[in-house]
Point group: T
Chain length 157, copies 12
């Protein structure tokens, strides 16, 4: 990550996350994806960073987005939804690009079906936040923004 | 399923089912997908119900179709093909929408490779019909139409 | 199945199915076994086919019944109940006789305990219907009757 | 268990327990099944409760007995013998009836072959007593009698 | 086995073996069970030993037969059929009685489905013969008769 | 157990059992640990036997207690709580001392998470009682007291 | 969590975390535990909340601390260290108390040995943050403080 | 493969292979996908065979391409990338078409993560070449061209 | 096996069988390998068949012997000793040659360590005899001689 | 591989490959090992490289050959036959020597028994070619010769 | 280990080792822990090295001792007893400190229960000695003293 | 081991150990096998004991050596190399002979590939020393010589 990258964070949402607020609210809550995206855009803008948001039900489109954003953005905040558990293609894309990725899950996946306990993308992400609801996205954003500030201060010297 | 839904059944076919009649006929038989779709459309029309049919080799397109149809249709008849065995994204889509889904397999998957013995979408469907060839689709249709009649009679009162 | 067989369908119910309507109704519903049997007998009679019905809590008695019916009947409709998951003896009996067997489960076994996800008789049956309640028996009956009509028309020529 | 049930306890012994006292006495001891049954009958009589006893080498007969006794008796004391480890049919029968079942093993099954460490009926019983020899039956009886007294006192008010 | 036992060998056949000669002849051949039993009876008679033969589709009946014969007979020749793979009750019966048991399989079970590779009764038998067709029964008989001769000669001294 | 041991029973409770009555009462009930201990002390006193009681959240302290009590006491009644499932150190301690140990569980562990189905201390205990609530402790006590009476009567002669 | 709890957060560190800054810095970094604790105390103080901090190499001591704090504190921030992977006792303690717990890992455990991929305490925590270094503690603190504010605002009305 | 097929070879590259030369060069080397494609096209042209090349990050697009090319082309050279390990849909497509497929991997997948050791498409391909870098594609091409020459010579006669 | 083969049976013993009579006699008995070989040679001579005998501790030498004898001999009697459990090379050799092989084990391998329960050569042998001591070799010999007589009588016609 | 090595390629064939052309031709084809060896020798001679060929049924002899050739030869082409699946000794030998090894399989091992899907030598080879028949050897040879040319050109400069 | 460390060896004994000589002497022998400790102290004194000895039944205390000794001592000789098999906390402590640890087991753990075959601390120790009784401690001591002499001679130059 | 055996120790090295000092020195170090053998011979000579040394890449030759030495030598020091992990033949040979065997590994096998964590010969050896480099052999020698002295002193009396 030594090369200079833009003050940009890519937010990527996987399959069925477009249904947030409407889908199984006892698990996923009532906040919509638009509300989450807007919160991230404004929080970043307040710290002078641009955020792009993207959602797709296609694994291929998400891989494309990671390839598009991952070379220039400083970081990726990704809730891969169901792809978390089997998309080696997404894992490979995340491993290929220099941006730091933070894995987000709205629910605590360890309290759900056993196949949700395993993340194939986890080992190529910097870290993960799970079970903290939509707040998880914002916590990840602030973590990345702090890291960005530290790196820029470092590269100033 | 308490909210009123349309007299509509969505039929969804997964990857490679467009090859039906041409692909491994010793396993899948000689009936084409068009023939199956037509039989479903007329059988439903005879009972005053509309049927939409859809096939795609893209997991994302099938998830989109489930999201499009699953909130308004009364039921979904789905032969997910290979996606049956690994598409958690499709499972999540089926779990998210209120329509009852019936899982269809043309062949008896228990007589084939071991990885075909496990269905990740099965637990979120109402039930399944396997090994009965193209008839499976029609049996599922009649099951759903009977359920629809019962529900409508119930809600008349 | 080239040899001519009688216009007869054998319906076989495994252990504890005599309790239907009384046992765990939230799983198995309120229909009794007698009601299911009567529906099958009349539906078949309307198409000029005889149906025998049988229930036992003894694996040995069920194997005996398969041996008794399986050489002459056109088809077997079997809900093996708990034996589904371990009775290799029943599997061997079904494999030994020429009649086509259709496996029925009232509940969707994939939504229940993991040991119910595996059927030892499935690989020697023609197909299966699960999760569609008592309707599953009737759908299987109609499938077999259609097959019988087709075979008889074929052998007429 | 809210419905009133008789002051009756059903004692059920599985395959090969008729050989007690004669079979592998280094594991099962020298007490015979008749001696155990008599001790249970008298202990219960002393507290004004009737005990029925039953042994069979047939899974089907044991399922029948559970169905016969399980709706009226207050409790079942069952040593399923070898069936403990594979009889889903017995599990289903015990789950179907309202009587509380206590699972008994004369030997400590955890000190024996690995396949004896797993009980398929355990999850549908109230509890279990293992390794305490024939005393286990009596301890279970006293537990059930105490529970019966408490319930009857409760329902008096 | 120090106690004197009768010049008697018990031959026990498990589920579906009554169909021998008629059932899947490409696996089990064309010899019937009666032919096998007769060959065993005459071969033993020629050496002055009585043979009893028994077949049942009921696990319970087979356990009963082992208990009936196992205390007095010199040996048991048992083809447990499907019970081989799951009947702990049969295993317990064979372990309980003093007679030596020889396990027979007509086909080579290692060439068939994986669940047939494991025998739960094998560890409590003296030995096994598999894959040698109906001859396996006769070889087992001669082995037991030779052992009987040696023991009787030994006990003469 | 041939050496004479004191008329003393050691009752040992593992981690979190100090919370009994307060912790997850739908699983563990409303009885407190003090109430259980008092019941055991008086029941034993009535039969002229002393009971010591001990609870700790430290595995080491429980091993110390087993070592302290296990050489002199006649028996140990132990509910190891969570240590049941992984404390090889506790297993080794119980195996090292001559006192008979009875394993107690208040809830039926087979009805809970899968990791609670396995006991590492079970194979070195005499037996176990599970799922019978606080009564399990008293049943174990009476079993041990009966054994103690029998042994003392035996050693009198 | 309906009962009113104190404006207090308990921070609990498991075995070997006292070595932070000194132990394997390529994995755990150079920040010491004191520095982390101080940062948490001041950040909370700024929002008028008290933080207690605790570290021990004893599982028992950590269970004691959870029991001490978990009934009154609003939340628990816990890095259980190695206990994460096997301490059922700690899981039971966390499940027993009403405080919300957030699980923290400094490193991304999915990038390390396979036995570190599984958390036995995860299913009883609200959520988790891993791989984000010492920042993970602060993110968790802010999440809990936000929740506390929301709950207090809610209960004001 | 008895039907005459065109002198055409389809080259298909899976997800992330568009990044070749840029992505993890210590694993995948510095050759780009364009360079590989050009080498294949010219090598085939020199032997009078046409080569089509295709890359996509979408499983559905790759299935489409296999369906498009697999009925007419003589052979398929496929590096399925991450899809190798889970895409049953791709396996089904390859099994459905008559063209011979050769599976290519640039790196030696057995030297990498364990999930890369298993290929779901391998059993329906003719063979595989792994670990030989970009040369693997050319070796596969020459193998197919030799086979094509032999078949055409054979069919001339 | 349609081609005429010599009246010759090859007897092959694997590693450590040269120690028979001296090695672990409580498992393997007191008969030596020479005694077994001599008994086989004379029994075969009495029926006008030649027997060759061979023992080696080298897998390679045993594969060589199977290749040497397997094309001309009528049958192979093989006790592969420890190689039974892992020598795929021996399996391949036995599968490559037309002679029927019978697998022998002196002890009942199912009563010993778990790794001895699995035979890699079993699926390519005609059948097996285990647990019957040195008699197993002679029973196998008589089986093969009977088969030889039948085949020669058949080919006479 | 920085040290200069001879223009020599060692070809090594494992157990039973001496039977090629004679053994199971439906799997291994009709080409003999001599024909393969001669083709390799001439193809290499045409490019001025010497090839040695070796076959043995002894694991030890193959390890010896790897040790003999592996320090001086430029590369090793090895079809380890059955040893592929269990010979850790061969793996260690290949890992010990500097020559690059290419693993060859004539058949597609993924289409055969499951134990053939795993190669213990694969992780220490450069790469593998499977399922392409005897051509696989030649493709490997050309790969190694190209590598040799490149290295020599590189070291000329 | 480049930093100079004291001429000190820490000997650490895990749970239940205080019972040595008294506990299961058929497994652990008759030597007491004091005798072992004294032998180690004198043998080291003879070579001018100090030995500290420590035993505890508390995992936490053993972790503390490793932390106390592991930074200054030259080596650690540790028999972790039961903790060997599950204490990740002890593993982490040993990995954190620079001292070389040698793992000791008095008995041959491979001859005991399967759960004793696995050591979680083994991978972070220098090596292990098992099955050689109390001598194992002394052999480890002499190994460490030899290493200490070599290092000191090396650092003199 | 009651019979008198010679003052002789057999040292046996398995496959590839002839390469010691030349093979992967970062794992196995720079000491050669000759140096190890010479050190063992002189150390033993100093205590008036003869040592034989043997190395082979052939499993069969090692089994022969164990059979040759194991009846007369007092002990065996064996580093079976790769055979450690699969040679049941070697295990059987070691179990067959009366000499005590000590298993040696130069590297700490628990720090290497998972298949090296399991020893099939371990359970039939007296004990093992791993990870202590060539010193392991000498420690084992001294252990055996001490045992020899003790036994001879014992047998003098």
């Amino acid at each position: 990550m030594s090369e200079q990258r833009a003050r940009h964070i890519a937010v990527i949402h996987g399959p069925n996350l477009n249904l947030l607020g409407r889908r199984e609210p006892e698990i996923y809550g009532h906040t919509t994806l638009d509300e989450i995206n807007e919160a991230l855009v404004s929080a970043a803008a307040a710290r002078n960073v641009e955020v792009s948001t993207f959602q797709s039900n296609y694994e291929g489109a998400i891989v494309d987005e990671v390839q598009l954003r991952g070379w220039e953005s400083f970081g990726i905040i990704i809730n891969a939804g169901a792809l978390t558990h089997y998309s080696v293609a997404l894992r490979d894309a995340l491993a290929a690009v220099p941006a730091s990725a933070i894995e987000i899950h709205i629910s605590n996946t360890l309290q759900r079906e056993e196949f949700r306990h395993h993340s194939v993308i986890g080992p190529v992400c910097t870290g993960s936040i799970a079970g903290l609801g939509p707040s998880g996205y914002l916590l990840a954003l602030h973590y990345l923004l702090d890291r960005l500030d530290i790196e820029e201060q470092g590269s100033d010297e």
